[in-house]
């Protein structure tokens, strides 16, 4: 089976952002600006870039911000303050792997709860959708290695979701950037959306923020073909929802 997981990023609520609506620069464009400012951009590219700076206010603001950053950081290094500021600040628990491992523990606990819930539901004779996963044992799903991911929206100022899949263990890592000013923790929920009904597959009342992101690991076996919704909410109830579709091709 060749599954495709697709996000459509339907935000129900966005975080405050004074520059919402500005189009994000790609890293390639930022690198180009960096080369321009360091004087290493080829002549023809310089001419093109400068013409754009003249005619495009938003682009010029981006170049100016890059210049401010570069000049400011250089000043800071010259005054000897930069090393003090950055030394030791990136501790081991800030590493993505650590955050992911922590969230994986939380999600695995949820999986156990889910499996228990499904057993109880079957015992009670309640109707469970045919597409709802019943087996979540790691490594049991044969489709995991074929799962492909397609991005359908670009990063903006609003909360954003990126992902990575590890086919070796069949694990889908979701990283949700929760905005410019993250809260300490977020409630998370993964819901399967079936015709006219929704089933909460995973939920956690408080997942910590690492590097400005809520990191979740989900075993891909849980995501059978169908539609899903990922929701994160801060303690004040503000948050975002993303809709995912796992498509059986």
């Amino acid at each position: 089976m060749d599954d495709r997981l697709m996000t459509e990023g339907r935000h129900q609520q966005q975080y405050s952002d004074p520059r919402r609506g500005a189009s994000p620069m790609t890293a390639t464009e930022l690198e180009r600006i960096n080369h321009y400012l360091s004087g290493t951009l080829p002549e023809a590219d310089c001419i093109e870039l400068e013409a754009r700076m003249i005619g495009d206010d938003a682009y010029r603001a981006e170049v100016e911000l890059s210049r401010q950053l570069r000049d400011g950081l250089r000043d800071l290094r010259q005054t000897g303050e930069l090393d003090r500021l950055t030394r030791g600040s990136y501790r081991f628990w800030h590493q993505p792997a650590f955050g992911l491992a922590a969230s994986a523990v939380a999600v695995m606990a949820s999986l156990v709860a889910l499996a228990s819930y499904q057993q109880l539901a079957e015992l009670r004779g309640e109707a469970v959708s045919e597409t709802t996963p019943v087996a979540v044992t790691p490594g049991a799903a044969t489709s995991v290695k074929l799962l492909r991911l397609v991005r359908t929206r670009s990063a903006g100022n609003e909360p954003d979701l990126t992902w990575r899949i590890d086919p070796a263990v069949g694990q889908l890592d979701l990283r949700i950037d929760v905005g410019l000013e993250p809260a300490a923790a977020y409630a998370f929920q993964l819901t399967r959306l079936d015709d006219g009904s929704s089933i909460a597959l995973l939920s956690s009342p408080a997942i910590g923020v690492t590097n400005g992101e809520v990191a979740i690991s989900v075993h891909a076996a849980l995501l059978r073909p169908g539609r899903y919704e990922v929701t994160v909410r801060d303690p004040a109830g503000h948050g975002s929802s993303y809709q995912l579709a796992v498509i059986d091709e």
């Binding site: 952002d17 004074p18 520059r19 994000p24 620069m25 790609t26 890293a27 930022l30 690198e31 960096n34 321009y36 360091s38 004087g39 310089c46 001419i47 400068e50 013409a51 700076m53 003249i54 005619g55 206010d57 010029r60 170049v63 100016e64 911000l65 890059s66 210049r67 401010q68 950053l69 570069r70 000049d71 400011g72 950081l73 250089r74 000043d75 800071l76 290094r77 005054t79 303050e81 930069l82 500021l85 950055t86 600040s89 990136y90 501790r91 800030h94 590493q95 993505p96 792997a97 991005r151 990063a155 100022n157 990126t162 990575r164 950037d177 410019l180 000013e181 993250p182 590097n211 400005g212």
Partner: protein, 182 residues
């Protein structure tokens, strides 16, 4: 293009012209002088010989600004190699200017330090320093921080935005202009 219209157009592009010059001339007053010079030269030349295609005005004035910035850099390089009486005289002027520039540099460093200190995620600090100061390439940073290219795009964008918002919040727009144009 008639004279009034040309003047209006040149006023419109003035911020862009200044930004081009500021990319290579750090002294604010000098950059503003050169910007005014670029506008004046463009105005005079186009009054004598208008452009065939008015759409090319932006490229034309950008090139003029660029040429002036390059000429200024060359002039500065020549001044660094001067000797004798002229050097002594200009050195005195330079020293006075250096005091002001140094004070400005310290203020700017203080602003950046405060904002970096406030950034909520240590990874943002590391990313900004490595990308903007060390000019490290994206692949190396991605490898070290365990990021995919797509993830890097978002993270660097967010780091910049956080930096921008904090900077604007901490310093009024007018103060910011003073700090970063100075």
């Amino acid at each position: 293009m008639e004279s009034t219209l040309l003047e209006r157009e040149l006023e419109r592009v003035r911020p862009g012209v200044l930004a081009i010059i500021r990319a290579s001339v750090r002294d604010r007053a000098l950059a503003e002088d050169l910007c005014g010079e670029a506008i004046r030269i463009t105005m005079e030349r186009l009054a004598r010989q208008p452009l065939d295609d008015p759409q090319k005005l932006e490229a034309y004035v950008a090139q003029t600004a660029r040429n002036l910035a390059i000429a200024e850099r060359r002039k500065a390089a020549r001044q660094r190699t001067m000797t004798g009486e002229q050097e002594s005289l200009e050195q005195h002027v330079d020293e006075l200017a250096d005091v002001a520039v140094e004070a400005q540099r310290r203020s700017r460093a203080q602003a950046i330090r405060s904002v970096l200190d406030e950034l909520p995620t240590p990874r943002d600090r590391e990313l900004l320093v490595r990308f903007y100061l060390e000019d490290e390439d994206r692949e190396t940073i991605c490898q070290d921080l365990g990021l995919t290219t797509e993830h890097f795009n978002r993270v660097i964008f967010r780091a910049r935005e956080r930096f921008r918002v904090l900077l604007e919040r901490r310093y009024a727009a007018r103060d910011l202009l003073g700090l970063f144009l100075g």
